[in-house]
Amino acid sequence: MSSSDALLQALLTLNRVQAQELLAAARAEHSPLEVIEHLIRPALEELGHLWEGGDCALSQIYMSGRICEELLEDLLGEVLEDDPPAPENAPPRLAIAVLEDYHLLGKQIVRTVLRAAGYQVRDYGRQDVETLVELVRSDGIEVLLISTLMLPAALRVRVLIERLRAVTPNVRIVVGGAPYRFDDQLWREVGADAVGLSAGDILAILERLEVKP
């Protein structure tokens, strides 16, 4: 599906109408899941990489992510009609949270990328260490994604990981956020399993961790 680039351009210019038209055209020939997989997902991944390289702005990433969320709602609605979701008591495997900050932007963008790739992700919002440990333990989370903005919160991830390992030793932690972009060893310092430098990185990381949608 070659219109992925066209969708990318529509998203970069925040052209919601054009994005909808491209999706409608693709939908005429492909299933909803194919459209998500081959059109929306690559566009979102590329947006992340463009930002990492300094070639697009966070405002574009976030606002285009909102457009994608709308598009996904429609497509996922169609998918659910054809293919009912897993039972509600199926344990969630993937969760995302912001540690000790009110800036939820990065988390929101990553969540959109994950949804476009077919992942079900539990969104814990803003949390402190103690609450997050309990949520991860009680929900049986296998992979926890942590977003931070400030250095102290990024360092606090070390405490979080130590406490998580004590109660749920197999949980894997992926970190992201500004402090990790300014110190390429910080993720190792805090004991994380992986770091994402942009939202687009998350899918490759989950593949490496062998976590499938």
Binding site: L14, W51, G54, A57, L58, Y62, H103, L105, M150, D183
Partner: protein, 368 residues
Amino acid sequence: MTIPNQEGSLPSASASDRPVAPMTSMQRVLAALGQREPDRVPLFLFPVMQGARELGLSIEDYFARPEQVAEGQWRLRAKLGHDCLYNFHYAAIEIEAWGGSTLFRADGPPNAGAPIVRDPEDIRRLSVPRIEDSPSLQRVLTATRLMAEQARGEVPIIGVVMSPFSLPVMQLGFERYLILMHERPDLFERLMQLNERFCVDWANAQVEAGANAICYFDPVSSTTITTRELFLATGREVARRTLAQIKAPAAMHFASGRILPRVPDLLDTGAAVIGVSSHEDLGALKRAAQGRLSLLGNLNGIAMRHWTPEQVESAVRDAIRAAGRGGGFILADNHGEIPWQVPDAVLMAISQAVARWGRYPLADDHIL
């Protein structure tokens, strides 16, 4: 503080006409900002919370009394030998004036609490806080006056404001602000009007208290966060209007955000200095600034937590080599605040490396 131009009244600092006695910090900074070579590259370390460590206080207790902040700044300058005093407390102090809260922590900068604007329609009911009504801002002004008494015009005192364009990240939260910017131009404009009035009042109150220059923090205007099109229509216009009313030279600081492709768009904002990121090439920034803007930066504050003496030496030397020649450069960290976790030994090593590699004519000039 008036920045002299090429024809200014400060002594020439060319290789053939170099002052014998060391310059004061004020002379050094003024010469650099006038695109001249002073006796050495000026160094603006921005230790903020470290004053609490000097005085054996918690960060929250330290900022509670202006006498402590002034004393902390003075001790840090004596210890580290840098070229400014910095009245910055924490970014959320402005939000306190707007009715918001601050969350203190033991190991890092205080952070803004929950946004004060939950519903964008609330912007219609916001009014500009009066500086004299805010106990928090009054503490900063008192600290500034105390610093000015000690500095006696020999050390520049740097005041701080959040730009009207970036303050809403704390007022609304980042997501709500981006949506407002794109989808509610009427409320965005109203918020800018309020914030500009507040920013000008706050900046000029600091100047009146003794600040010699204002650091205008505006990360939302960086290429990291906004597109050029959006910046030209919003952040640049806000900066132009605001900086024109501030009664002191201003540095636009992007708090680690990238700015290189946008430097030509900054030349006529009214800023004299730009604070630049460690993610960008200082030499390229210097060329882009064309001698019309001075550079402030760009040591990586987060990475320096673990710097060895050799890494300090290398980072300082590389930065000076890239941007020092001809003046127009102040060495600093790239964020405008040294992290709490950076050891004093690293900061002292930076200062020593500047003394070694920053003396004009620069070491590399001898080689060339």
